[in-house]
Amino acid sequence: MIVPGMGKEGQLRLINSRVLIIGAGGLGCPAAQYVAGAGVGTIGIVDGDVVETSNLHRQVGHATSRIGMKKVDSLITHLRGLNPLPTYIPHPFHLTPQNAADIISQYDLVMDCTDNPATRYLISDICVLLCKPLVSAASVQKSGQLIVLNCPPTPQGALDGKHAPCYRCCFRKPPPPSSMVSCGEAGIMGPVVGMMGVAQAGEAIKILASALHIPPDDSASPPPERNLHQPTLLIYTYDLDSAVGPYSFRALKMGGRKKNCFACGENSTLTLEGIKAGNPNYEQFCSVPTARCTLPPEGRITAAAYHAARERGELTEHILIDTRDSEHFSFGSIEGAVNVPFGKLLMKAAAIKRDGTPASEVLPPGLGEADAPIFVVCRRGLDSQETVEKLKELGLDHGGERRIMDIAGGMKAWKEEVDPSFPYI
C-alpha cells in the first residue's frame, strides 16, 4: 500500500498499532477486511452474537458455512484468509459498562461498528476517559453517517483551544426507542452499510499511519506534523425512489468539544469507576418512556382468536386494516386486508386535526363512515395499538358503538399462531 503520504514510516506505525473493532456486523465486517489488509498489527473484535442467514447480504465477513458460529470467530476465520499476519484477538461477548474499560484500554484506536445507542454512548464515554480516538459509523435503511471523534485525543475537561468533540458533543440525547430500530428490523441496503464500514477503515488507517492517535502531550514519542481538519460528519444517502436520482455525500462541518458536555466538558463527573458501578445507567438513558400506548385487554384480540372468529363466520362484515409499509405488505397479507401505512395514517390524522377535513378520510373511501367493526394489524403489534387509539380519537368508533380492535402481536403473532408459512420478513 504505497501512495503519496504513506511510506515505510506509515506502514511501520500500522504494524505497531492495535485496533479494536466493536461489532462484527454490517459495518465491522467491511471495516475489518481493510484494516487487516492494511497490515495493522493487532486487531481485536468484540461481538456476542452468532451468524444468522439474514446477516449475510451485508455482513461480508461471514459465510453460509459458518451460520451458528460466533461472529467474532467467523470474522477472524475470514480475516486470516485475507491476511494471516496480524494478531487477532477475539472478545466473543457484548461490550458492557463492566468490561468496556478493560478491553478498550488494550488498544490504540476504537472503531464503533455497533447497532444500538446505549453501546454508542458507552464506547464514546470510555474513549474520552482513556484518551482513545474513536471512528464511529452508523447506517440504517438507505443512509449512513461517519464521524471521527476525540481525535487527537485530549484529556477530559481540557477546553483550552480547539479540541475534538465526543459522541455526546454531537448527539446530546438518544432518540426515543420507538423511533430506533435495528438494521434487522428497519431493513438496510447492503452497499450502504458496506460503504460506511469501508470509509471507517479509511479513517482509522489514516489516523494510525499519521500517528494522530497519540495524545499531543505524549512527549516520549513526539508526533509528526499534524494537518488537522475541522471535525466532519459525513452523510451518505442512497436514493431508491428515482432511477436517475444521484447518491449524495454531504460533509458537514461540526463544532469542537462542548464546554458543558456531560462526558468531556468542564465539570464532568464521568469516571471509569462510576461507569463500572452503573453510573450513568446507559440502558435507562437510551430507553426514555415513550408515548406508545398499551391498550386495555378489551381493545385487543389475539391473532389466533381473530382467525378462529373468522373461520366460524362471526366476522363476515368487518374491515381489516394493515398498517405495515407497502414494501412489507407486498410480500403477503391476511386475506381481505387493506393496506394503510402507519406513517401515512399519522400524517392524514394530523391534517384532519389541522384543517378540519372529515375524519373518515383517514381511511380509504367508504371504510371510515361504515358501521362494520375495524381490526388493525401491523408488523409486531405496536403501531396497530396506536392506530386504534387514533381512530377512536377521530371518532370513527361512533361514540363507542363501533368496535375497533387491535390484533395483538401483529403479523409476527399471525405467523406464530395461525400460519407458519407466512413470509414474515
Partner: protein, 102 residues
C-alpha cells in the same frame, strides 16, 4: 421525492433537508420553506407542519445551515450567539437525527 427533484433556489425560500428518521416522519427528503426565519423558530415551524416531530425527531437531532453545524438556541451548549441566527433566503438547512444501527 428524490434528490433529483431538489428545488432550485426560489426567491424568499430556503431548502430544508430531512435525513434518516426526519425523512420518514415528513415523507420528504427536501422541501422549501419561507425565508427569512429566525433559527429559534425553526422547530416550532416544523412542529406546526408535522405534529409530534419535535419529540420524535427534532429534540435529539443536530441541525446544520449551509453544511455547518449550528447550536440550537435552546441548547444548553449554546453560547448565546445562536439566539440571533436567522435562516436566510437560499440557505440549505439540514435536520440530522442520530443513526445507531449498523
Amino acid at each position: 421525492m428524490s434528490w433529483a427533484a431538489l428545488p432550485g433556489i426560489r426567491n424568499r425560500y430556503f431548502n430544508i433537508l430531512y435525513f434518516a428518521s426526519a425523512g420518514s416522519y415528513t415523507s420528504k427528503n427536501v422541501e422549501a420553506l419561507p425565508a427569512p426565519l429566525p433559527l429559534k423558530k425553526l422547530f416550532a415551524t416544523l412542529e406546526e407542519r408535522y405534529k409530534g416531530i419535535r419529540a420524535s425527531v427534532l429534540d435529539h437531532s443536530l441541525v446544520t445551515i449551509n453544511l455547518t453545524y449550528v447550536d440550537m438556541p435552546d441548547d444548553e451548549g449554546g453560547d448565546g450567539e445562536a439566539e440571533d441566527v436567522v435562516i436566510q433566503e437560499g440557505d440549505e438547512v439540514a435536520i440530522i437525527p442520530p443513526v445507531s444501527s449498523g
